[in-house]
Subunit: 343 residues, 2 copies
Amino acid sequence: MCKFPNLCINHSLKCWHFQVTNGTVTSRNEIDGGMIVKLVFLGTGAGMPSKGRNVTSIALQLLEERGTTWLFDCGEATQHQILHTNIRPRRIEKIFITHLHGDHIFGLPGLLSSRTFLGGEDLLTIYGPKGIKEYVETSFRISGTYLKYPIQFKEIIEGIIFEDDTFLVNAIELEHGVQSFGYQIIEKDLPGELNVSALKEQGVQPGPIYKLLKEGRTVTLEDGRVLSGNDFISTSKKGRKVAIAGDTRMTGKSQLLAKGMDVVVHESTFADEETKHAFDYFHSTSTQVATVAKEEHIHTLFLTHISARYQGELSNTLLNEARSIFENTFIANDFDEFDISRV
Amino acid sequence: MCKFPNLCINHSLKCWHFQVTNGTVTSRNEIDGGMIVKLVFLGTGAGMPSKGRNVTSIALQLLEERGTTWLFDCGEATQHQILHTNIRPRRIEKIFITHLHGDHIFGLPGLLSSRTFLGGEDLLTIYGPKGIKEYVETSFRISGTYLKYPIQFKEIIEGIIFEDDTFLVNAIELEHGVQSFGYQIIEKDLPGELNVSALKEQGVQPGPIYKLLKEGRTVTLEDGRVLSGNDFISTSKKGRKVAIAGDTRMTGKSQLLAKGMDVVVHESTFADEETKHAFDYFHSTSTQVATVAKEEHIHTLFLTHISARYQGELSNTLLNEARSIFENTFIANDFDEFDISRV
C-alpha cells in the first residue's frame, strides 16, 4: 500500500510514483528527469482463456503524462484481471479496439458498466472498426445498463485518429480476414528547457525576453550584449513511440507499423513451423515478427496472443526463434509490466 | 485425474462416478442406490466481480441423469471459473437466464464461442426473458462468431418451460424492475422397481405379466394364485426439487417459488438492516429469504448474490441472521459444490 495516499495518483498495489529521501517526498518524475509510460499486459492468449493466459488486453499507463490509462482491446474478464493491478477503471480515458473478434471485445460491456460503479465520471472514447458502437449499445440496451459518464465512439479508418499537444495515434490497417488495426502511439518530443539560472547569472531577469530566447531567437540586450536562445536551451527529449498490432497475417503493413517505433507489441500466435497454418488463419509467427523488428531497428519487441498449444516452457520455442533473429524480444505474460523510458 | 477414462463421464478434475473394490469397477450410481445431482456455484457476488466473488452463475450437474449440465445465469468470466471445475462446456445442454442485467449475461457470448472450440456439437437451448436472443445474435454477428452446434432460444413467459420424462422446469416471475424469473427444477419421481427375484422364487417367469404387475395391477396366475403388483414393487423414489431465484425484491412470488422445494438458492444481496435499501433496489435480505424458507419447510437454503460490502467474515452477518430463523442455511461461495441426494 502506498505511503502517500494524498500525493499519489494510484496507490492501490505498487507505488512507483513517489519516493522519500531524508524525509522529503520526491516525485519519480523529478527523480528520473522524465515521465513514465508503462505497458501492462492484462491478457496474452489467443482465442480462448486458459488458466495461464487470459484473452487479449493491454494497458498503457500514462499517469504522469495525462493522469490516465489507455486500453488496447478488452477481451472477456479484462476487468477481472484489472482487479489484480494498480489500474483504476475510472482513469481509463481511451480504449482502442484492434478488431471485433470476441476474444478482443467481449470484456467491454462489463468493464464499462463497472467503471460507473467505481466512480468513473469523465468522458471515455472508444476507437475501433465499424460495429463497435452497435455492439456496446445493444449490450447496454438489452441489459438495461445506464452509465453516469459520457462515451464517445470513433469508428475509424486508417490514418491519424487522435492528436493533441503531447500524443498522436496513427491507425494502420492490417490483414486478418476482418478489419484489424495496429496502433502507433507517438509521444511528441519534449522541447528543451530554458536554463533560467544561467540567464539570471548573466543578469537577465524573467520577462518577455525569456519567451523569445525559448523560441531559439537571437536577442540584443539594452547593454548591447547579443544572446542566442540556442545557448540557453537544453536538448529536446525524444518522445516515445509504441506500436500495438491487432491480429494479422504478416504483410508489408506490419513493417509499416514497426517503422520508427521504439517498442512493438505484436501477435505471435504460432511458431515458425506453423507458417502455413498462420497464413491460412490470418496470424503471424515468431520468426516473421522478429524479422520485421530487426529490419526496422526497433528497440524492444513483445510477442503476445500466444496460442494455447505453447503452454509453459513450450513458449520458449517462440522466444528462441525470435531471439535468434532479434535479441531484444520478450514473450509477454499476463500481468507483465514494462516501463518505457525516454531515450 | 480419473482412473477410468473409458467409463467415466467426466474425468477432468475429481472423479466421483466410479470406485474400485477388489478389482471391480462399480458405478457410484449402483453404490449409492441413487443418482447424484450436484449444485456448483460459479459466481456468488452482486453487480460487479471482486477478488472474492465472481458475478452470478450456478451449474446444476445432471451427469448421471442426463449426461449433461444445466447453467443458471452466465455472468462475465463464467467460462474462466469453469476452467477450475470439472464442468465441460460441451456438456452444457441448457442455459437458463433469470434476467438480462449485465452481471447475469455478459459471459454468455464467450462461453458459447468456447463451447465450439471445445468440441461442443449438441444442441444447446437458452431460456430467458425476451431480448436474450438479440443480445447473443448481435454479439455473434458483430464479432464474426460462427458456432458448429445449433442454438435454440426460448424467450419465456411464466409457466412450465420444459418437460420430459425425468424433469420439469417451471418459471415464476419475480419482481426486479426488469423481468426476472425464478426457476423450479423438478425431478420426476422414480417409480418403484419390480422385485424380480421374489417373483422368480414364486415361479413367475419374465413375460407380459411383469408389465401388469409393475403397473400395480392384480393378476391371477394359471394355477389360480392371485398376485398384487403392489406387493412386488419397491416404494417409488421422490424426485428432487430445486429452486433457483433470479434477483428480486421480496414478494409473495418468492414464497410461491419455494413451495414444495427441497433446496432453494436465493439472492440475499443485503443484510436485515438494509431492508429499505433492498426494497428500493429490488433486492432481498437474509432475514426475508430465511423467513420464506422456514414458512415453506424447505430442506436447505443457499444465499447467494452477496453484495461486495459483506466481504470475508462480514458475510457471517447474513448467515447468522438467516440461521436464527432457518437453521439449515448456507452462504454460497465461489466453487462451493453441493450434492443433492434423493430423500
